[in-house]
């Protein structure tokens, strides 16, 4: 069944969009990541213009992450205080990111800088997470009990407060800084930043994995709300028919993802997420190494430029 997308300007099969939405919703509910990394290339492969793909996907991920967020909230897996502090850093970071992007555009070569730094971060995070989760799994099999979380010097910085939900008493400087970095990244890369945020909350802040996912979803709800509104206000590129078709699958997928996630242990979730992060890194590496089918980019631009 083909449905015409008014803003993207082409017809797309309804069932393809449903299943894409389902997969992304599942990942979102299970790992607390947005899923933009998967959707942008897929939608572009279907012939949707990049600008429309990115904007409509923000709208669709908003639905998926809100659905997942509510499910996590009911299970009391959201640290609102932490989410709020991360958000403050995130807002400042994303504003700065916009200016940074402008500066990089002036120099040229912004793409290589961004792709390479993203690939390096993802590869590092993915491998580290895989190694750590495997070790933990082994230790648990041997019957050794782990500490709740490791204390690192960052936690001892000034302005300490109590995060009840996360069982933490740490300085607010690291969460603000993490929020800031993720904000910068999401402005420059056009991705939500869940891939950086989730591991950072687990390893740097030492939050329990289950709480991390719910809190990350809270973050994504805010980021995607703002970007949906900004994209349609500035570029008019949000295709609501496209995002509506995607979100049918997404809200269902997010609920299933949440249910699967609560059955798993923290280290099992981290292990699966590590594998997904490594796959994403490999795909990104492939993207810059493999000869493209069409060695050019054509964009339609507004007349007044």
């Amino acid at each position: 069944m083909e449905i015409y997308l008014p803003i993207a300007g082409l017809p797309i099969n309804f069932f393809i969009l449903m299943s894409l939405g389902l997969v992304v919703g599942f990942l979102s509910g299970m790992f607390g990541v947005g899923g933009g990394f998967l959707m942008t290339p897929m939608l572009m492969l279907l012939g949707i213009p990049p600008a429309v793909a990115v904007a409509s996907e923000a709208n669709h991920i908003l639905a998926a992450s809100f659905s997942g967020f509510l499910a996590h909230m009911r299970r009391l897996n959201v640290d609102f205080l932490m989410g709020f502090i991360l958000l403050i850093g995130g807002i400042v970071g994303s504003i700065l990111g916009v200016f940074l992007l402008k500066y990089l555009l002036i120099i040229g070569q912004e793409k290589i800088f961004i792709s390479l730094s993203y690939i390096i971060i993802l590869t590092f995070v993915g491998v580290w997470m895989l190694w750590e989760s495997l070790n933990t799994l082994k230790k648990i099999n041997k019957g050794k009990i782990n500490k709740l979380h490791e204390h690192i010097w960052l936690h001892g910085l000034p302005f300490k407060i109590k995060f009840r939900k996360s069982h933490l008493y740490i300085s607010i400087i690291p969460p603000i800084f993490i929020g800031f970095v993720v904000g910068v990244l999401s402005s420059i890369m056009g991705v939500g930043g869940g891939f950086i945020l989730v591991p950072a909350m687990i390893y740097i802040l030492g939050m329990p994995t289950q709480v991390v996912i719910g809190t990350s979803l809270l973050q994504i709800v805010f980021v995607t709300s703002v970007s949906t509104i900004m994209h349609s206000y500035i570029n008019q590129t949000v295709d609501v028919v496209l995002s509506s078709l995607l979100l049918i699958g997404a809200v269902i997928g997010a609920q299933i993802g949440t249910r699967v996630m609560i059955k798993l242990k923290g280290e099992q979730i981290r292990f699966l997420l590590a594998i997904i992060i490594i796959i994403v890194a490999v795909v990104l590496i492939g993207e810059i190494l493999v000869t493209p089918k069409e060695a050019f980019i054509i964009e339609s631009i507004k007349e007044n430029i």
Partner: protein
């Protein structure tokens, strides 16, 4: 369709004696609407040629889609890595669709300077740029655009003008599902066997969004902020409904 031909022939019958126009064409459906189930369309053209001139003459029909601003950048390989190049070309009036058809197998027998003068064929299509580049710089980007259109059915070269009788001919052009909206200019040329222009005729077709598709895209442009807010609100409501429904299962 049949009634169209009857009316068209009738129109020619009245028209011919007084005007003696050597070439006349008309289009079956001048308003193509894109609805929720749009999956491509066809531009069907009927035309007549003065019977005295019909033998050995050459008919060429060009269809140019609505023009738009396009930014083209090449991807280049640096140190084994594919990057988007620094240079960009901005076409300020690139047609969104290009098709040409004739009753010849190819146009090689026609003098190139005539084709150039009439702007027939992709190579003779004049696309302006906003950064005053010379032909040598523009040419590679025109080639890129051509292959981009070819891969998407937006570029078609055919020799499928059907001769239906002594003076009647018919041609059709396929518009793919991704065809842009706007006015399509259809220009028909009648050349004698030496390639000299005898007559030309122009028509146009309007492709526009209709119904829901039109309403949504208009609304997104006229009220962008409200559209964005509603889109975000819609997504939140959908997320809420999904969560509530699942809670009860």
């Amino acid at each position: 369709m049949k009634s169209f031909i009857v009316i068209f022939l009738f129109f020619i019958q009245i028209y011919q004696p007084c005007a003696r126009e050597p070439l006349l064409t008309d289009i079956v459906d001048k308003d193509i609407s894109i609805t929720a189930s749009f999956d491509g369309a066809k531009i069907i053209i009927y035309g007549t040629v003065d019977p005295k001139l019909y033998k050995d003459s050459i008919i060429i029909i060009n269809v140019l889609g609505p023009s738009s601003h396009l930014k083209i950048r090449k991807k280049e390989k640096y140190a084994g890595i594919w990057l988007v190049g620094k240079n960009e070309m901005i076409f300020t009036n690139a047609p969104g669709y290009f098709a040409s058809s004739s009753n010849l197998d190819n146009l090689k027998s026609i003098d190139k300077s005539i084709l150039k003068e009439l702007n027939i064929g992709w190579n003779n299509l004049i696309i302006s740029t906003n950064n005053f580049k010379n032909d040598e710089e523009v040419e590679p980007y025109k080639k890129i655009l051509k292959s981009y259109y070819q891969n998407r059915g937006l570029y078609q070269i055919a020799s499928n003008i059907d001769i239906l009788g002594e003076s009647l001919f018919r041609a059709e052009f396929v518009l793919p599902a991704i065809t842009p909206t706007g006015t399509y200019n259809v220009k028909s040329f009648l050349l004698n066997h030496n390639g000299k222009l005898i007559s030309s005729w122009a028509n146009s077709v309007k492709v526009s969004k209709e119904g829901l598709a039109e309403g949504l895209s208009d609304y997104s442009i006229e009220h962008p902020l409200l559209y964005g807010l509603l889109a975000a609100l819609g997504a939140i409501i959908a997320g809420y409904i999904g969560s509530e429904v699942f809670r009860r299962i």
